[in-house]
């Protein structure tokens, strides 16, 4: 066991996967020699050579398109898109190709690839370094979408994603790379070395896709979150004193519906939190599922706390970001309703 940042945990997941399976190849912009702009692939080229870890031209459609070809051949590419905001040129390769290859060829060809990308805001990155496009992937049949909230999960989920025989989108909340950021941007962030989920086992282990984790058990309200918002939700619970049950979904496709419905059946209330814009965000899907499956348990309307339906602004970042105050207000609101 060692304490690791999320960056180190992701790097370690690559290392473990590459050493166990020579079919795993890693590439992307600045990923090879330099080890990635966030340093998540540092040292891999030195250790595994240029054939298995290399820099690519700046062409996202090329990165994902070649990964689909390699995966169909029998390799296991794990590629990086420098920021999720830059994945759009690759979207056609994901939607029309990676996601459907198994289906349209009746299993003759498959696309076991992992596409990693930093996601989310909180770094004053403006509209091109802050987006949370998870719903755009979740909406596509044939893509799995994973979003870790801590180093332990990041390593286990990434290894599981690489070993998965279907295409997986792996979104890394960049504001969590160095610590469990809870939305209090004026306060210093606790480093992962001081957090129990910064404790990362050595060697191989997996965290299964489609299994949520209850980060804090509670009786009064279920809070559904993933990525950075897990820590924001925990802070909001702490600060309001509402006995919230915080569920970290970890992957949104596949989704652990059982954990969600069991919790809401118990609490009777549900708040859904994500950083992405609201309209057709993944919260809409969650709200529909909860409404349908837990209709008779609900004591208050389901509330969503999300980014507003605007591009991600630069100077107004902290008014845009759904921080603990906004989540706390939603908790109070659902507790008052009944």
């Amino acid at each position: 066991m060692a304490r690791m940042t999320m960056i180190e945990a992701i790097r370690d997941a690559h290392d473990v996967s590459m050493s166990r399976d020579e079919k795993v190849v890693v590439f992307g912009q600045d990923v090879g020699y330099f080890g990635g702009v966030f340093r998540c692939t540092k040292g891999l080229q030195q250790k595994y050579g240029m054939q298995r870890c290399f820099d690519t031209p700046i062409n996202e459609s090329g990165i994902v398109g070649t990964a689909v070809g390699m995966a169909a051949y029998g390799l296991r590419p794990c590629v990086e898109i420098q920021f999720a905001d830059y994945m759009y040129p690759a979207y056609d390769q994901l939607v029309s190709e990676a996601a459907r290859l198994r289906y349209r060829s009746n299993g003759d060809f498959i696309a076991p690839l992992t596409v990693r990308m930093p996601t989310g805001g909180g770094i004053f990155g403006g509209q091109t370094h802050s987006q949370s496009p998870e719903a755009l992937f979740a909406h596509v049949s044939g893509l799995k979408t994973v979003i870790p909230s801590n180093p332990y999960d990041a390593k286990g989920l990434l290894i599981a994603s690489i070993e998965d025989n279907d295409p997986v989108i792996f979104l890394e909340p960049k504001r969590l790379y160095n610590g469990p950021f809870d939305g209090h941007h004026d306060a210093a962030v606790t480093p992962w070395s001081k957090h129990e989920l910064g404790e990362v086992p050595e060697g191989h282990y997996t965290v299964p896709l489609g299994k949520a984790a209850i980060r804090r058990p509670g009786a009064d309200v279920t809070i559904l979150a993933y990525g950075t918002m897990v820590h924001v939700a925990l802070a909001a619970v702490e600060e309001t004193g509402v006995d919230g049950e915080v569920i970290d979904l970890r992957s949104i496709v596949p989704l652990d519906l059982d954990t969600i419905t069991e919790s809401v059946a118990k609490t009777g209330r549900c708040v859904i939190v994500h950083e992405a814009t609201r309209t057709c965000g993944f919260g809409a899907e969650l709200a529909a599922l909860v409404a349908h499956h837990c209709f008779y348990s609900l004591e208050a309307a389901i509330v969503r706390v999300t980014g507003y339906d605007t591009p991600y602004p630069h100077a107004q970042e902290w008014d845009y970001f759904p921080g603990p105050k906004r989540v706390g207000a939603a908790l109070t609101q659902v507790m008052e309703a009944s």
């Binding site: 912009q29 020699y33 702009v37 290399f54 040129p89 403006g126 370094h129 507003y308 845009y320």
Partner: protein
């Protein structure tokens, strides 16, 4: 029978990495003045060699030589120097401001000032640039107030973009400067569309697109080329080859092609390489391409050969991927020093006047910075109101955004 070879993936590598001694011996620096200057209605086929050579005008003695030597007036030449010095001074101040925590981010154009300053000087009012984040010289040369640039960099209460964009992502329609997107390559093709519109509307304005060496790998670069080839709109397509794309050297984007300019040839678009650190050469080539466009002969592709002397951005440290002294060894020299040598050789400038101009420019930039900071910084505010965050998503605020704004309590 020949035996099949067992394959290995070819991955290009730069000649030097940190710890190595920079080596530009393979970089052939042609003598100034040697490349011919064709007529502007020339066919791409007839000037294939210009995609491989380098147009250079200012020689080592500061003399402007050869057929491309432009006849700049004394005033134009001195303005060119002044614009470049202003850009460098502005960059230096904003870099420090970022380090002091006054804003989130900054990008310099250190070593590349000649390209945007000389190019803008060759455009006419109403023409439109589609710049990348490294062409601040276009704005400075077009006379956009540096104070407003700083207001944007600070996202302060006077920021013309209301704090919505990251630093340096300027927009200034009246100064021929299209709104910058952070997504690489997207605007290269939009620029072709703007030029097509000028043709459809029967206008006389031209457009200029900008892209880095690394970003030429994006599909949008190729989209731009094919539309420019098919519809022959009045457009100048600029590739700024500064050797690096963050940590990747130009060979990753260029592949087996000898030059970026040669990408134009397959599209039948005349392509010219120019010494990007030579103000006079850039100006001459830009004028040539602009005249070509204005006379209805269509697109030109220009590769500006230069070197990114600074880090990619304030988030980057090049010590991790290239030799520290590589910039100093760059064989095309420094654009400001070269322009100064030219002006001195021409007899219209002296070391004393240069030192005096430097002091004047620095104090103007500093004064502009003081004025900008009196309107706030990202760190300390005041910022544009958060209420405005909901405006301009659409022309009119729709009901759901009114509701969200109310919910936000701002």
């Amino acid at each position: 029978m020949t035996r099949n070879k067992v394959f290995q993936l070819h991955v290009p590598e730069p000649q030097c990495r940190p710890g190595d001694t920079p080596d530009f011996s393979a970089f052939d620096v042609p003598k100034a003045g040697e490349v011919d200057r064709p007529a502007v209605d020339v066919d791409a086929e007839d000037i294939r060699h210009l995609a491989y050579e380098i147009v250079r005008v200012t020689d080592d003695e500061g003399e402007a030589v050869g057929p491309w030597a432009p006849d700049l007036t004394e005033e134009e030449a001195l303005k060119g120097l002044r614009d470049m010095m202003t850009v460098r001074s502005l960059d230096a101040r904003m870099l420090i401001a970022q380090r002091q925590g006054k804003t989130s981010f900054y990008m310099q154009s250190l070593g590349e000032e000649a390209i945007s300053c000389a190019f803008q000087a060759a455009l006419s009012p109403g023409d439109m640039n589609f710049p990348t984040y490294r062409q601040q010289g276009l704005l400075v040369t077009a006379g956009y107030p540096i104070e407003d640039m700083m207001n944007q960099v600070y996202s302060n209460s006077a920021d013309p973009l209301e704090g919505r964009q990251m630093p340096v992502m300027y927009s200034a329609k009246d100064n021929s400067y299209f709104s910058i997107s952070g997504n690489l390559g997207t605007q290269f093709v939009q620029c072709v569309g703007w030029a097509m519109a000028s043709a459809i509307a029967g206008d006389t304005k031209i457009a200029a697109g900008w892209i880095g060496d690394g970003a030429t790998a994006e599909s949008d670069f190729h989209s731009a080329m094919v539309f420019a080839s098919t519809f022959r709109p009045p457009v100048i397509l600029n590739i700024v080859n500064n050797q690096w794309a963050i940590s990747t050297f130009q060979g990753i984007a260029r592949g087996k092609a000898a030059t970026f300019a040669s990408r134009g040839l397959g599209f039948g678009i005349p392509a010219i390489r120019v010494d990007g650190n030579d103000f006079l050469a850039v100006h001459a080539v830009a004028k040539w391409a602009a005249e070509r466009a204005h006379l209805g002969h269509g697109a030109t592709l220009i590769e500006h050969v230069t070197y990114r002397a600074g880090p990619h951005s304030t988030s980057d440290d090049p010590a991790g991927y290239r030799p520290k002294t590589e910039a100093a060894d760059w064989p095309l020299g420094d654009p400001i020093k070269r322009m100064k040598a030219y002006l001195i050789a021409r007899g219209i400038w002296t070391e004393e006047r240069h030192a005096q101009a430097q002091a004047e420019i620095d104090s103007e930039v500093l004064a502009a910075q003081k004025r900008a900071e009196s309107r706030g910084t990202l760190h300390d505010g005041p910022h544009p109101s958060s209420k405005g965050m909901f405006d301009d998503v659409f022309e009119e605020l729709p009901a759901h955004l009114i509701r969200q704004r109310q919910e936000a309590g701002i």
